[in-house]
Assembly symmetry: C2
Homo-oligomer: 212 residues x 2
C-alpha cells in the first residue's frame, strides 16, 4: 500500500463551531460534504481528541464556516493550534470577524465565503473519529472568493519552513505544516508519547519530519 495515495483526496477547509457553556468553541476540519439534497444533509467527521467533538455531542448543533482563499494564517492558529479546553478561542476575537446565526452559534465572517448551520440527526462512531450527519437549518453565501482547498492552504497560506529559525530542533508536520519547535516547548519532540498527534490535523507523530 502506498501511503501517499490519501494525499490525492481533494478537501475543503472549514471552521467548525459550536456552544461551550455560555461561550463558544471551534476547530478546523477538512471533512465536510453534502450527502443528500432532499432533505439537505451534510456529514462532518471530527477527531475525538478535538474538544469540539465532545461539545457537539452535548448540544447536537454546529456551524460550518467555509474557509476561502483570502484567509490568513492567524485563522488557522486561532482555531487549529490550541485546544478549547484551555482557552476561549472567541474571547479576544474582533466582533467584526464573526456573527451569531439563528441557532445562537457564531460563524466566521473574515477569510470565509459561506456558512451552514446544522442540526445533528445521526452520530456514527468510527473509532478515532465521530461522524455527524446533520440537517441544514440555515445557510448563506458570504463572498465570491473561491473556497480554499487543502492543497491551496499548503501552497499559499501555511508558513514556509525556510522562514523558521530556532535554537533547537524544529519538526514540521508533512500533512498540514504545523511546526513543533523544541526550543519553544517544554518537552522535546522526540520525547513526546507515541500516541501524540498533530494539534492541527491530528495526524500521528510519524507524519512529522525534522526540518533540514
Amino acid at each position: 500500500m502506498n501511503e501517499k495515495t490519501v494525499h490525492k483526496f481533494t478537501y475543503g477547509l472549514f471552521v467548525l463551531s459550536t456552544e461551550k457553556g455560555d461561550s463558544y468553541n471551534g476547530c478546523i476540519i477538512n471533512t465536510a460534504i453534502q450527502v443528500t439534497t432532499s432533505p439537505n444533509q451534510i456529514s462532518i467527521t471530527v477527531n475525538k481528541q478535538n474538544y469540539t467533538e465532545e461539545l457537539i455531542k452535548n448540544c447536537n448543533k454546529f456551524n460550518l464556516s467555509f474557509i476561502s482563499e483570502d484567509a490568513t494564517f492567524d485563522l488557522f492558529e486561532r482555531f487549529g493550534f490550541k485546544s478549547g479546553r484551555d482557552t476561549d478561542k472567541f474571547a479576544d476575537m474582533s466582533n467584526n470577524d464573526y456573527k451569531l446565526s439563528g441557532n445562537g452559534i457564531p460563524y466566521i465572517t473574515k477569510g470565509t465565503n459561506a456558512y451552514i448551520s446544522a442540526w445533528v440527526n445521526q452520530t456514527i462512531d468510527l473509532g478515532t473519529h465521530t461522524m455527524f450527519i446533520a440537517t441544514v437549518t440555515d445557510m448563506d453565501v458570504l463572498s465570491e472568493t473561491p473556497s480554499a482547498s487543502y492543497s491551496y492552504y499548503h501552497a499559499n497560506i501555511k508558513p514556509k519552513p525556510q522562514a523558521l529559525k530556532s535554537e533547537g530542533k524544529v519538526w514540521v508536520c508533512k500533512i498540514c505544516g504545523y511546526v513543533y519547535d523544541d526550543a519553544k516547548e517544554s518537552i522535546p519532540f522526540e520525547e513526546l508519547p507515541d500516541d501524540w498527534v498533530c494539534p492541527l490535523c491530528k495526524h500521528p507523530k510519524s507524519d512529522f519530519e525534522l526540518q533540514k
Copy 2:
C-alpha cells in the same frame, strides 16, 4: 436559505467501480473522503438511483479511481451518462485504460492519478443516498497529475454550451453541465416526470436551464 451555499463545497471526482455478475460496473461520484487513519477508512455516498449502489450492497467491495486534471470528457460520458442496467460500461473499453486490482475489480488507469480498493464495513441509509464506510485494502498512486476538483471539471473538462447546435431546445444542468437535447431524445425535457434527475450528477430537474 441561499441554495448557492452548497456550491462552495470543494469536491474531488472519482470513478466508483464494482462487480456486476461476471462483469463490472462503475459510476462517477464526488463524495469520497478519508474518515479515519487508524484503521484507514474512507466514506463514499452514492445515490440509490445509481445501479452501482445496488451492486456494492451485494458484494461489499469497490474500487475508487481518482480522476485527474488530464481526464477527458469521454471518461465522464462512459461512466456518468449511461446506466449499467442497460449497458456494459467496460465491454468496449480498451484494456490499456483499466487494470484489475487484487480484489478482482477494475480501476481506471487513464485520466486518473490514484486508486483505492476498499471493503464495506458499515452501510448507512440516508434516504435518497446510501453511505458506505469502508476499510482500505489496497491503494496506490498512479501519476503526479493533480486531482481534478469539481470546479476544475466545470471550467476545463465539461463541454462549453456555446459549442452546441441543435434543431430543438437544449437544456443544460447547472450543476454538472449535462446536456439534454430535445432533438436527440424521445421525450422533450419539459415532459419528463418531476422526479426525473440528471443522469450524471443526480440533481433534480429544477437544476436544468434552457440554453439561450
